[in-house]
Symmetry: C3
Subunit: 207 residues, 3 copies
C-alpha cells in the first residue's frame, strides 16, 4: 500500500505544480505552447535537476508516461477553469504545499537510496521540491520566488531533518513519511497565513 500511496501523491504533486506553472505563464501572456513548456518545467524541473546531479538517467519521468499525461491534463483543465483559478487560489496553494512536502521526502529518499549522506539527501530533497519553481521563474525572467523573503525552502529542510531524526530512531517509515510530509505542508500553510519570513540580510554600504 505504501508504494501506491506515494505514487498517487506524486502524481497529485505533479498536477498541482503544473497548474502553478500555468498560472505564472498565463499572467506573462505566453502563447499556449509557452504555457505548456512552463507547466512541464515547474512540475518536473526539480526532479530532473536532482536526477542529473545524482546520476539517475534517463531522468525518472521519462520512463513513466503518466507524469507527462498528468501535466497535459493539468494544462487542459487549467484552460477550462482559468476564470475560477483565481478564486481557487487558496485551494491551489494548499495543493502546491502538498507537492512541496511530498517531493522533499521523495527526493530525500532517492538520494539516501543511492548511498548519499543525510546532509546531501536533505539538499537533494529540497532541490526536488523547490527548483521546478526556480527554473520556472528563470524562464519567466523574474527573481525566483524562493528569494522573495517568504518561508519556502526552509520548510523542506526542517521537514527533512525531522524525517532523518525519526528514521534514525527507529520510528516506522510509513508513519515518519506521513508525519513529515504533513509537517512541511502545515509549516508552509502557517508561513503564508501568518506572513512568516526569515530575516533579510542588511548590507551597509554601496555595492
Amino acid at each position: 500500500m505504501e508504494k501506491e500511496l506515494i505514487y498517487a501523491l506524486e502524481i497529485i504533486g505533479t498536477f498541482v505544480f503544473a497548474v502553478s506553472g500555468v498560472s505564472t505563464a498565463a499572467s506573462k501572456k505566453f502563447d499556449i505552447l509557452g504555457v505548456v513548456i512552463i507547466a512541464f518545467v515547474t512540475a518536473i524541473g526539480g526532479g530532473t535537476l536532482r536526477d542529473v546531479m545524482i546520476g539517475v538517467q534517463p531522468v525518472s519521468w521519462m520512463l513513466d508516461l503518466n507524469y507527462i499525461y498528468t501535466i497535459i491534463l493539468a494544462v487542459i483543465m487549467s484552460f477550462f477553469f482559468l476564470p475560477y483559478l483565481l478564486k481557487l487560489r487558496k485551494t491551489l496553494f494548499l495543493f502546491d504545499a502538498i507537492g512541496l512536502g511530498l517531493f522533499t521526502i521523495l527526493g530525500l529518499e532517492k538520494a539516501l537510496a543511492i548511498g548519499l549522506s543525510p546532509v546531501v539527501a536533505i539538499m537533494m530533497g529540497t532541490v526536488s521540491a523547490v527548483f521546478g519553481g526556480v527554473l520556472r521563474d528563470i524562464l519567466c525572467n523574474t527573481v525566483p520566488l524562493i528569494f522573495s523573503g517568504r518561508i519556502y525552502a526552509s520548510n523542506c529542510i526542517a521537514g527533512g531533518i525531522v524525517y532523518l531524526i525519526l528514521i534514525t530512531n527507529g520510528v516506522d517509515k510509513n508513519l515518519t513519511m506521513l508525519f513529515t510530509v504533513s509537517l512541511i505542508i502545515i509549516l508552509r500553510v502557517l508561513a503564508v497565513r501568518r506572513n512568516w519570513s526569515l530575516p533579510a540580510i542588511k548590507w551597509d554600504g554601496n555595492h
Copy 2:
C-alpha cells in the same frame, strides 16, 4: 551516404546557430569572449541538455572537435561579415530554420535509439532544437524568444509527430528524415513570413 549527409547538415546547423548567437550577443555589446561563449551556448546548449537528461556522457560534442572548430569558424566569419549580417538576415534565418529542422529529427532519433518512448523522443527532439536559444536568452537576461508568441517550438513538435507516423507506417527512413526536416523548415519560414502565432492565454484578474 545517409550518415555523411546527416553529419554535414549537423555541422551546418551548428554553424548557423553559432552565427545566431553572435548576432544576439553583439547586439548586447558583450566583449569578444562573451560573444564566443554565447555562440557556443546557442549552438550546443540544446544538445547538451538532451544528452545530460538521457544520460549520454561525456556529452556528444566533446568527442568530436569539428563542432568546436565549426563554432569558432562561425564566430570569426561573423566578425568579418558583421556589416553584411544585417542584410543577410533573411538568409541567416533560413539557415536557422534548417538547424531547427535537423536538430529536432536528430535529437528525436537519439532518444529513440536508447529506448525512450515516442512522446519523450519528440520532447527531446524539441529540446535539442530549441533550448540552445533558450539558454542564450537566459544568459542575455531576456525573456526567451520561444515565449514571445511566434511559432517556434510547435514546428518541431509537428515535424516530430509526422516523422513518427511515417516511420511507424514503414516509410523509408532517409525519405522520412528528408521530408520531416523540410516540413519543419517550411513551416518555420511560413510562420515568420505570414506572422503566424499561437493564441496567447488571457488571464483575467490581477496577479
Copy 3:
C-alpha cells in the same frame, strides 16, 4: 604532498567563492536561506555543471562533506564580518582570483583524466571556474558578470593553454600547476587593477 596541497587550496577556493556569493545575495536583500543558496550555487555550481557534462555522478562535492561545511562556515563568518567585508573587498577579490586559478587547473585535469581532448579540457576548466558565478548572476536575475567587459574567463583559457604547453613539453607537473595557477591569479589581479578589457563588438544597425 601534492594532493594535500590541492585539497587545501580547493577548500580555500570553495570558501572564497561562497563569500563572494554571500556579498552578491546580501546586496539583493535576500533572506538568510536565499543567501545560503546563492553561496552554494556560487561555490559548487561550476564544478557541478562540469561533472554533469563529463559524466561524473553523483557530482563530486556530494561525496565529501567538507565542501558543504566550508560553505556553511563561509556564510556564518560572512554574517559576523559583514560590516568589514566592504573594506576587505580587495583581500576577498584576491581570494576569488585564487579560486579562479585553482578551479581552472583542477577542472582541466579532471577532464584530461577521463580522456577528453586538450581543447575540451580547457573549456571544462573554464566552466568549473566561471559558471558558479554565472549561475549566481542568473539566479539574481542580472546579466552575468563575465559578459560585463572585464577580463575574467580569458585568464582561465590563457592559463589552461600554458598548462597544456608545459605539461606536453615534460615540465614537472607540480611546478606547472603552481606556475599556471599563479599566472591566472596574477593576470586577474592585473586585469582589475589596470582595467583591462577585451574589445566589445560594435554592431552597426538597429536590432
